[in-house]
């Protein structure tokens, strides 16, 4: 084995060890580690809420708005998966993780509902009273879920 091949092998082995160490260490729930997923979900639910608002004023189509809700649902699922990967050995950490997961779960339900209502609104004008009522209901759900997440973020010290 030449000198350069040996060096390459050493570098690759070191990288493999670092990768193993990094992947082997699960983060623990804290304001710092939860900040990323919580902000992603907060952004997602606000985007879905804006899409519903725009649909209520007939400014967007049912297809575009339901696509936004569906995309945001995907974002929340991805953030939920990240939190599931957190290691929570203490009771306090378990409580924090479970609270965040419960909040994400409420947001997912609201987003699912929003997506269904937005998809169903494709056949009718958004201005119809039935359509408006259904959209107003999902908007209220999204806002409640957003408020819950916001207060949880404040409680956990996430800015």
């Amino acid at each position: 084995m030449s000198k350069s091949s040996r060096s390459l092998a050493v570098v690759l082995a070191l990288l493999a060890v670092i990768a193993g160490l990094v992947s082997g260490c699960s983060p623990r729930p804290s304001a710092d580690t939860l900040e990323g997923p919580a902000k992603e979900v907060s952004s997602a639910v606000r985007a879905a809420s804006l899409a519903v608002d725009l649909r209520m004023t007939d400014s967007t189509t049912a297809s575009a708005a339901s696509t936004a809700a569906d995309d945001m649902l995907g974002e929340v699922e991805a953030a939920t998966d990240k939190i599931h990967g957190f290691d929570a050995p203490t009771q306090e950490e378990r409580t924090l993780r479970n609270d965040v997961l419960a909040s994400f779960s409420a947001i997912s339900r609201a987003l699912l509902h929003a997506r269904d209502v937005l998809t169903a609104s494709s056949g009718e004008p958004a201005a119809s009273s039935d359509g408006q009522a259904r959209l107003a209901t999902v908007q209220a759900e999204l806002r409640t879920a957003t408020d819950q997440l916001d207060s949880l973020m404040t409680k956990a010290g996430i800015q």
Partner: protein, 409 residues
């Protein structure tokens, strides 16, 4: 009159063809997170692409050969291979992102999952490359891509606080919510999006396709110097729309469906329809350009007959290479990878590969053997060297910043 129309058409297609999925997504992400505080990067990127596209077009017009062909001959197969390897991988990522972009735009229009649109996008891109004349292909997608001007219209309709926007643009700063590392990571991403390597290879090969001569240099210069900056203005309008609507609402862009929200808010369903048409045209045009660029670079490196001015049977390896690239892009999308994520990585990897693309162009444009009296002037060389330093710094900083910031998270 005919010449004037030609110039106007060239400028319009340059504007319409400037924005691709990378510009769309990166500018919207940046606008929603940093406001207009990275607008200066778009200006630097646009000046850079003007400089090197102009150089590359001049090499093609004077030598009658595409830039990559000349690089391969002038710098030898080893340097040519490094250039090919980097450019080809970036092209492949960009083709994947653009096809994903077409499919995502069609999902916004129809509500049908983008995965079901991917095969149609592939077929449409391949059919156009196979059957449609180069000039028609370029002009139609460029002109329809002009629909993206709706971003600028939407910005006016949103009645923003112009003073605040100007403040963000002229006194850039990082808000407390964001890290300095993420700011610089996105600065590099924006720079990579504006100076994507495929643009110069496509530009010079296109010059050969259209049979440019030295007398056409003035027109090409006007197209570049007016079309690209106006395209850059469009990029800033995308960021500004996001800065006005999404940033105050606490929405960080991660999907195409969020990019369109400000335009829908400003102009309603009509504006949204025009925007979706523009996104389809821009991504479709860019998918054609990147696929052709992949074919051009491969064929020019290996010395195969190439070009749409030849019948497909006379440039069979060139066409087969493009089919393989398209299929590879679709195979990547079939894994379920998020096309927006591919886009975000493609612009950063573009920045990493920039020195391999732009240094050889600068060398060739200074070689009197190919360029005769049309070699670069002193001012162009100074500007070229300054840009090479910027490109090198961006290229070296990209990976450490990507790791340190978790890809700008």
């Amino acid at each position: 009159m005919k010449r004037l129309l030609g110039v106007a058409l060239g400028i319009l297609t340059a504007i319409g063809g400037f924005v691709d999925i990378g510009d769309l997504v990166t500018n919207a992400v940046v606008g929603s997170r940093f406001g207009l505080s990275l607008a200066w990067v778009v200006v630097i990127g646009v000046l850079g692409i003007c400089l090197f596209a102009n150089m590359s077009g001049r090499v093609a017009a004077v030598s009658g050969r595409a830039t990559f062909e000349v690089i391969r001959e002038r710098m030898g197969p080893r340097a040519g291979l490094a250039n090919l390897g980097a450019s080809f991988l970036i092209n492949l990522m960009t083709v994947t992102a653009e096809i994903g972009g077409i499919a995502l735009a069609l999902q916004l229009a129809s509500g049908v999952s983008y995965m079901l649109w991917v095969p149609f996008a592939l077929l449409a891109v391949w059919l156009v490359i196979w059957r449609v004349k180069f000039s028609i292909m370029e002009n139609v997608t460029g002109l329809v891509g002009l629909s993206l001007v709706v971003f600028a219209v939407a910005l006016f309709l949103l009645k923003p606080d112009w003073g605040a926007l100007a403040g963000q643009a002229f006194t850039p700063s990082v808000s407390g919510e964001e890290s300095v590392g993420a700011y610089w990571y996105y600065a590099i991403a924006l720079f990579g999006a504006a100076m994507t390597p495929y643009e110069v290879f496509f530009f010079s090969s296109g010059a050969v396709e259209e049979g440019w001569k030295v007398k056409d240099l003035v027109q090409s210069r006007i197209n570049v110097l007016m079309g690209f900056p106006l395209g850059g203005f469009l990029s800033i309008a995308i960021a500004a729309c996001a800065a006005v609507v999404l940033l105050p609402a606490g929405i960080s862009v991660t999907t195409l469906s969020e990019v369109v929200l400000p335009v829908a808010q400003a102009g309603g369903q009509l504006a949204l329809a025009v925007l979706i048409l523009g996104i389809v045209a821009a991504t479709f045009g860019a998918a054609l350009e990147t696929t052709l660029s992949s074919g051009y670079t491969l064929a020019q490196f290996f010395g195969w007959p190439w070009g749409k001015f030849r019948r497909p049977a006379a440039a069979s390896r060139f066409h087969v290479a493009m089919m393989v690239v398209l299929l590879a892009g679709v195979a990547v999308l079939a894994t379920g990878v998020d096309p927006i994520l591919v886009t975000e990585y493609s612009v950063v990897f573009s920045a990493i590969a920039l020195p391999l693309t732009y240094l050889p162009i600068l060398i060739v444009a200074n070689d009197p053997q190919y360029m005769g009296k049309h070699v670069n002037g002193r001012a162009v060389n100074v500007a070229g060297l300054v840009y090479l330093v910027i490109i090198l710094v961006a290229s070296l900083a990209a990976i450490p910043l990507m790791i340190a910031t978790g890809a700008g998270a």
